[in-house]
């Protein structure tokens, strides 16, 4: 069956999609996080070995992705609050979204080394 076309929504719709996607990603992280932290009650050795996997470059990269998801979700969440409670929020929703994206880019740049330093040091020395 030929599907209909994707609805061509604009900034508002795609920010909502991104908000949902990052929200689900954060939920799955919290799920894994509760499990690996709870492991310390089972045995500290098992906890240590699981936590050691955070040093692996792919997991480290996923941590950076987690920072990206949380930052977007948090900043866009403030935008949604403004749209809800500020009378001029709906009027300035696009400008607020681009502000969110701007702040997000700056913070992602700032988080690059602190989050990825283990992998960067392993790969490039220092």
């Amino acid at each position: 069956m030929p599907a209909g076309t994707l609805y061509r929504g604009r900034e508002g719709m795609w920010s909502w999609v991104a908000h949902r996607v990052t929200g689900v990603l954060i939920f799955f992280f919290l799920f894994a996080h509760v499990l690996d932290t709870a492991l310390v009650r089972v045995s500290p050795e098992a906890y240590d070995s699981v936590i050691a996997t955070y040093k692996f470059w792919l997991v480290n990269l996923m941590e950076y992705g987690l920072v990206a998801a949380i930052l977007f979700h948090a900043l866009n969440g403030l935008r949604v609050v403004a749209v809800d409670f500020w009378a001029k929020g709906p009027k300035y929703q696009k400008q607020m979204l681009w502000t969110v994206v701007g702040i997000w880019v700056v913070l992602m740049g700032g988080a690059f080394y602190p989050v990825l330093q283990h992998t960067l040091r392993t790969w490039f020395g220092g």
């Binding site: 030929p2 929504g9 508002g12 719709m13 709906p90």
Partner: protein
């Protein structure tokens, strides 16, 4: 003093007039659906020679009158007031009678589909009953108490201005059928019903605001709105739909209206 501007003007005018008669080939890709013939919808291409300043509705009329009389769609006034011909043109909800060919990139095939979220009956016609039921449920009429006045009900300009934006609605369903929440949950009242509730909630002459707010305080009421702004983008009347919905939400929180 010489008037060279007249010369320039007429030359520019000539160019515009020459351009206006130039017809271009346009492909219209229409999502056809006829449950009596085939259970699934199909995309069908139609080639037309169009003036870029003609409307999408003109194209549909040409197809129906000259190429394929079975093409089915709603239209009535053809001037953006009756709200009959809302459809998804190149992926966005618009009125076929207010969209010009040149506005939607005629170099590529122009896709036309029925609006989303309501059951398609045939081709571009959807079942509007759930849409109008939601409209009726918010009681879109003046509610008052006491004796009827012998004169008109007076209102200040400022009071009239308060809900001016939401009086413009033509019930075309472009907003409601652009809403991702409505696509997934047909029980949601939808932007159009909330806009028409807003029109009376903030009318100083009306006394039914409490009742309407109670209706919209429902699980399927205003709280389902996720502020995707698709409705505001889609409205052919330029109503700030999301803003109206947010005002109703705030009226529910603050009880000030």
């Amino acid at each position: 003093m010489s008037t060279p501007t007249v010369e320039t003007h007429s030359a520019a005018l000539d160019a515009v007039e020459a351009g206006s008669t130039k017809l271009i080939n346009v492909t219209f890709r229409i999502r056809r659906f006829n449950p009596e013939e085939h259970p699934d919808p199909v995309w069908v291409d139609y080639q037309l020679e169009m003036d870029p300043k003609e409307r999408i509705l003109d194209a549909l009329n040409k197809i129906k009158w000259e190429q394929d009389g079975t093409l089915t769609y709603r239209r009535s006034c053809a001037h953006g007031i009756c709200g009959s011909d809302a459809m998804r043109i190149n992926g966005r909800n618009r009125l076929a009678c207010k969209t010009l060919v040149k506005d939607v990139d005629p170099a590529k095939p122009i896709t036309i589909e029925a609006i989303k979220g309501l059951a398609v009956l045939k081709d571009l016609i959807v079942d509007m009953d759930p849409f109008f039921q939601a409209y009726k449920d918010v009681m879109p009429f003046l509610i008052t108490s006491g004796n009827e006045p012998t004169r008109e009900r007076l209102q200040s300009q400022a009071d009239r201005e308060r809900f001016d934006d939401t009086t413009k609605c033509i019930l075309c369903a472009a907003c409601t059928s652009s809403c991702p929440v409505f696509w997934n949950d047909g029980q949601y009242f939808g932007p159009a019903a909330i806009v028409n509730a807003h029109r009376f909630i903030f009318d100083s002459r009306d006394e039914g605001a409490e009742q309407r707010l109670e209706v919209l305080n429902d699980r399927e009421g205003v709280w389902r709105c996720r502020t995707t702004f698709n409705c505001s983008e889609a409205c052919p009347r330029g109503i700030e739909v999301t803003k109206a919905i947010q005002e109703v939400k705030r009226a529910l929180v603050t009880r000030r209206f």
